[in-house]
Amino acid sequence: MRIRCPYCGERDNGEFSYLGDAAPRRPDGLEAQASAMHDYVYLRDNPAGEHRELWYHGAGCRSWLVVTRDTRTHTISDVSPARDVARSRRPGEAA
């Protein structure tokens, strides 16, 4: 597989490491509920199809990336810097 890092260009998947689903949003703050944290840590969808997921370009620019990949075909339709994606989220909204 090859992933087009928005900064470094297309690179072998060996330069990246995989984390998983980019949808869960961490419930921040002292008022956060344990049940919400449980869901954030453990609940994941496993779709057959388009999936937004977090990858880390550890052997390159060390950017965390949100990669939109079709889990059936490995077709990658979008790669965005995770920090940009995270900054554009509204509070309480999933990525």
């Binding site: 597989m1 090859r2 297309e10 072998d12 490491s17 984390l19 961490r26 921040d28 703050g29 002292l30 956060a32 509920q33 344990a34 944290m37 449980h38 954030y40 840590v41 977090l54 880390y56 550890g58 060390r62 950017s63 965390w64 490995h74 077709t75 990658i76 810097p81 995770a82 920090r83 940009d84 995270a86 900054r87």
Partner: protein, 1011 residues
């Protein structure tokens, strides 16, 4: 068909040197270099050949037909094909450390002194003891192993496996390390062309002329594919000459790279391809500094699949006898290698294509004795051609069986009326149509499609960016190969943004590929093989059908059809056609098995490349490495780091004595230890403190500039991720350390927290692990020692620089350095960081300055002993299953801030008072040795999972106490000081009584630390 006048190069027509005995070599012709004779050995016999020969062609030239024994029945086998699809002629090459098994003789290039041996025979190829297996053939049918070696289970490893391995193995691998080197390389191109036959050459030419970056790979050492094997015309030239001219033009293009002797073995996602180049396989020994093979990782925007097609055998009795060959292979040996595969050749064909063999045999001086065409009628033109050559024609008939013991002597032919006769011949050329090579286009879990016009599977939905050309795409005629190759090659370049280049219009001599495949003969006489390499006969497929293994994947696994090195290249479709007939389905309804890389076997060495032996993985050296080596340190691998474990001195009996001395010296005088391996992360910026507060579980808000603090980091699920220190170098400048093993993981975690969780934090982070050499100087004389190293003017006394102080200092007359008053040993200790290039100098300076104080260097072993004596948790305790509370760190966790892991660490199971918690242990009998990994059981309790109360995590011999001590995680441990439990270690046969105690064994009041 034979009306073209063929021009041969001078070398090809040079006379045969005298005194050679290649009885089956034609007087002239072929693409071998007759001026360059070679000598080789097969099973010890000296034989000769020419440069340009394969081992197979040279063996045939010498009249050697029997080449190996089959896998299961040990039947005599010869040479079936002339390419990488060969299932029979599998040999062992070379000797000693270069000995390699299972090479197909059909692709092994001949070189001077080549040594080859037949495989799977004992005591000799001609008299093979295990050939009796053939007599017992009925019991060796499909599923034999599954049915026979079932019971009793105790026999599986003791008896059955060795028995099966001895009987059924193929070749022998070398037992000595491979003396050759292997290389790897990355290549990028616009258009990758897979296969250098007429379609591939045309495609490469079209793409190359348009200016695209082209890579053309071909497994053969000479490009041209079937053009080298057939007597064909392209335009006004012979096919051979056209290929040569095309290659010359391609070689003149700077952006075209031709990789011959290179097999494209795998197709991967997003335009990635794997290929192996046999750089020196055609030589006895690779030239100095040249690799044996090179693994290519190719990335291409577009790919043209022009891998060609493989001819299908017929299924009839004794179709595996040496001398029975594919008709295309017979023509290859005749036309390319100048070898007559037999003097009296019979042709068994189901299409017009096989008839080409007639003229080629005649042109080379052989005799075609008969043409058996399974189709009911044969055109008058073909009939006339046969008559002219003196060959009989049997139409609507078939070959039912073969005769001969170790080589073909005759065939049994059944004519259209059903009457049979025996025809003497020493070679049978069979032509049953061609299967496009659909392996590579199927690698990404794609399935081929059935093409009824050519009775074969062709590529289905191709991987993105790939197009097929020529025979690989089911376009079997030469004209179609040239046409489709040029077309898709040009289109591929256009798709990459290059302007289309003008194309040559090339005619070819006429060609008919009309055929009606004969999937199997009506009444075979003898065993009719479907898969030669795995000894799977038609009867085995029938058995699989009877027993219900009808799905293709079941058929494959039950019969082993299509397995092993040839991956069913000549057998898959034959097996499917039989199953289709048995189940009353059409062939495409039966389906195909999954094709996976590699296309042909690839040596593991090629994948390993440079990374073997000492280069198996990268090694990191500490800045004091040179000094440690001079001192004879014993090194240990921790992660990728090579750390000094201890420094043996003359007269010391063992490691324990050295380590004890190092610990004693540190505790009584002073020692120095290289702790550069710790991760060091520089954190700056407006929100640096905010980020640290969120990633660390203990509070940092009150940490003043010039102070360091122990830090514990949790994972979001509540377990401990790592521990280290955070030093505040400035208002907005921190240095965080992480453990050696977790340095990279912690950095990645911090990046995650910053970039994904809290992107609005204004923080600048970078690893400085490599910038600073860092040394722990510990012991009562540490301050005195460092005073001799740190530049005058810096007060490192206890008042000015108390425990946990940090500061920027200079050493060596102005070299910037950092000093931290932190201690892992429990002694008065400092860590001095200097720029890594000065690491060697600093170490030597400290050793010199410490010399009057009796300094010792200490390694990771002594470091570990001292941290166990002090009850500090390390990797063995921070094991991914321990919470901060489990490690006795619960009290320091922050109450008034949010941080990673805060909520999840409160889960009921993680706060269960029954959880194992860190405590210390000492043997009741102080002379006994403790073992890490031992499990704790209540005294008198038997070993069971239910009785398990935890386990010993770390042990050390404490020179301070004079006995073994341990740390461990024990249920309700801290409540049980003074109690005794069993430390049960069945793995090392130990079961001793231990006493539970505080994990701090030495200086519990920390009197030594703060002086």
């Amino acid at each position: 068909m034979s009306t073209i006048t063929l021009r041969r190069s001078e070398a090809d027509s040079a006379p045969l040197p005298t005194g050679r005995h290649e009885a089956f070599r034609t007087a002239s012709g072929g693409l071998i270099d007759r001026r360059r004779p070679l000598e080789f050995r097969f099973d010890g016999t000296r034989l000769s050949g020419f440069e340009g020969d394969t081992l197979a062609s040279a063996l045939l030239a010498n009249g050697v037909r029997l080449v190996g024994r089959s896998f299961k029945y040990h039947r005599p086998r010869g040479i079936l094909s002339a390419g990488s699809e060969e299932p029979n002629a599998i040999v062992e090459l070379r000797s000693g450390a270069r000995r390699e098994p299972n090479t197909r003789a059909t692709v092994a290039e001949l070189y001077e002194g080549l040594e080859a041996r037949s495989q799977n025979r004992w005591p000799s190829l001609r008299y093979d003891a295990l050939a009796v297996n053939a007599l017992a053939a009925p019991i060796f049918a499909a599923g034999f192993y599954y049915k026979t070696f079932m019971w009793p289970a105790a026999f599986w490893e003791r008896l059955y496996e060795p028995l099966i391995r001895r009987a059924a193995g193929l070749g022998r691998a070398a037992e000595a390390p491979d003396p050759d080197t292997y290389d790897r390389a990355h290549a990028f191109c616009d258009v990758l062309v897979i296969g250098g036959g007429p379609a591939g050459l045309s495609a490469a030419l079209a793409a190359g002329r348009s200016g695209a970056r082209v890579i053309l790979v071909d497994e053969d050492h000479r490009l041209g594919g079937r053009l080298l094997a057939e007597r064909r015309a392209v335009g006004s030239r012979s096919g051979v000459d056209w290929a040569a001219a095309t290659i010359a033009e391609l070689e003149s293009m700077p952006e075209v790279r031709i990789l011959s002797r290179t097999t494209l073995f795998g197709v991967y996602d997003h335009g990635a391809y794997g290929a192996v180049e046999r750089v020196s396989d055609h030589l006895a020994v690779p030239p100095a500094h040249a690799p044996r093979q090179r693994l290519w990782r190719i990335t291409a925007r577009r790919a043209v699949l022009a891998a060609g097609a493989i001819e299908r055998p017929h299924i009839f009795g004794g179709n595996d006898r040496p001398g029975v060959m594919l008709a295309g292979a017979v023509r290859t040996y005749l036309n390319r290698y100048g070898v007559l595969p037999g003097r009296r050749v019979a042709i068994f064909t189901s299409g017009d294509d096989g008839w080409r063999t007639l003229a080629d045999v005649a042109a080379a001086g052989g005799q075609v004795v008969a043409v058996i065409d399974s189709r009911p009628s044969v055109s008058p033109a073909l009939r006339r051609e046969a008559e002219a050559a003196g060959a009989r024609v049997v139409s609507g008939g078939y070959v039912a069986g073969t005769k001969g013991s170790l080589a073909l002597k005759a065939i049994v032919v059944v004519d259209a009326d059903g009457s049979s006769e025996t025809i003497a011949c020493d070679c049978l050329a069979m032509a049953n149509g061609w299967n496009p090579i659909v392996h590579l286009d199927s690698h990404l879990s794609r399935r081929p499609a059935w093409d009824a016009a050519i009775h074969a599977f062709v590529p289905g939905t191709l991987p993105s960016g790939m197009v097929a050309a020529g025979a690989a795409g089911g376009r079997l005629t030469l004209a179609e190969c040239l046409e489709t190759g040029a077309q898709v090659g040009g289109e591929a370049a256009t798709a990459c943004g290059f302007a289309a280049a003008p194309r040559d219009t090339l005619g070819t001599d006429p060609e008919s590929i009309a055929h009606t495949p004969l999937w199997r003969v009506a009444k075979p006489k003898g065993k009719a093989f479907v898969d030669f390499q795995n000894d799977v006969a038609a009867a085995d497929v029938e058995l699989a059908h009877r027993e219900g293994f009808r799905a293709v994947e079941h058929l494959k696994r039950y019969t082993t059809l299509g397995m092993a090195t040839d991956q069913g290249k000549t057998s898959n479709l034959a097996g499917l056609s039989l199953m289709a007939e048995l189940t009353g389905q059409a062939i495409p309804s039966v389906g195909t098995t999954v094709f996976r890389p590699p296309f042909t076997p690839v040596a593991i060495g090629a994948f390993a490349g440079h990374h073997r032996g000492k280069d198996f993985r990268a090694i990191r050296q500490v800045p004091s490495h040179a000094w440690c080596e001079e001192q004879g340190a014993v090194f240990v691998e921790t992660g990728l780091w090579l750390r000094p474990a201890y420094f043996p001195k003359a007269g010391e009996a063992d490691w324990l004595e050295s380590v004890n001395r190092e610990v004693d010296t540190v505790r009584s005088r002073v020692g120095i230890c290289d702790v550069t391996t710790l991760g060091k992360i520089d954190i700056q910026g407006r929100d640096a403190l905010a980020l640290i507060e969120r990633v660390c579980a203990n509070p940092f808000g009150t940490l003043p500039v010039g102070k360091a603090r122990y830090a514990v980091l949790l994972r979001e699920d509540g377990f401990v991720l790592d521990d280290g220190t955070v030093a505040r170098m400035g208002e907005r400048h921190f240095v965080m350390t992480a453990s050696t093993a977790n340095a990279a993981k912690v950095m990645q975690h911090l990046e995650f927290c910053h970039q994904w969780l809290w992107p609005d934090l204004d923080v600048q982070m970078v690893s400085v692990s490599e910038q600073w050499a860092q040394y722990a100087v510990a012991g009562p004389r540490a301050r005195d020692t460092l005073r001799g190293v740190i530049d005058p003017g810096f007060d490192i006394g206890n008042e000015a620089f108390p425990f946990l102080a940090c500061a920027e200092v200079t050493v060596g007359g102005g070299i910037p350095a950092r000093l931290f008053r932190i201690s892992f040993s429990g002694e008065l200790a400092y860590e001095l960081a200097v720029p890594a290039a000065y690491g060697d100098a600093a170490w030597r300076a400290i050793m010199q300055a410490g010399s009057p104080h009796g300094i010792t260097a200490y390694g990771s072993e002594a470091l570990s002993v001292m941290r166990i004596e002090k009850g500090h948790a390390a990797g063995a305790e921070i094991n991914g299953q321990a919470t901060a509370r489990d490690l006795g760190l619960g009290g320091m966790l922050a109450k008034k801030k949010d941080y990673v892991g805060r909520l999840m660490k409160e889960r009921p199971a993680l706060t269960d008072p029954d959880r194992p918690i860190l405590v210390g242990f000492r043997p009741v009998d102080r002379a006994q040795r403790l073992r890490a990994g031992a499990h704790f059981l209540a005294l008198g309790a038997g070993p069971s999972l239910a009785a398990d109360e935890g386990f010993m995590t770390s042990v050390a011999h404490s020179p301070s106490l004079g006995h073994w001590i341990g740390l461990g995680l024990l249920r309700r441990g801290p409540e049980r000081h003074g109690e005794r439990v069993r430390a049960y270690d069945p793995v090392r046969d130990a079961d001793i009584e231990v006493e539970i105690c505080s994990p701090v064994f030495v200086d519990p009041k920390e009197e030594k630390l703060r002086v």
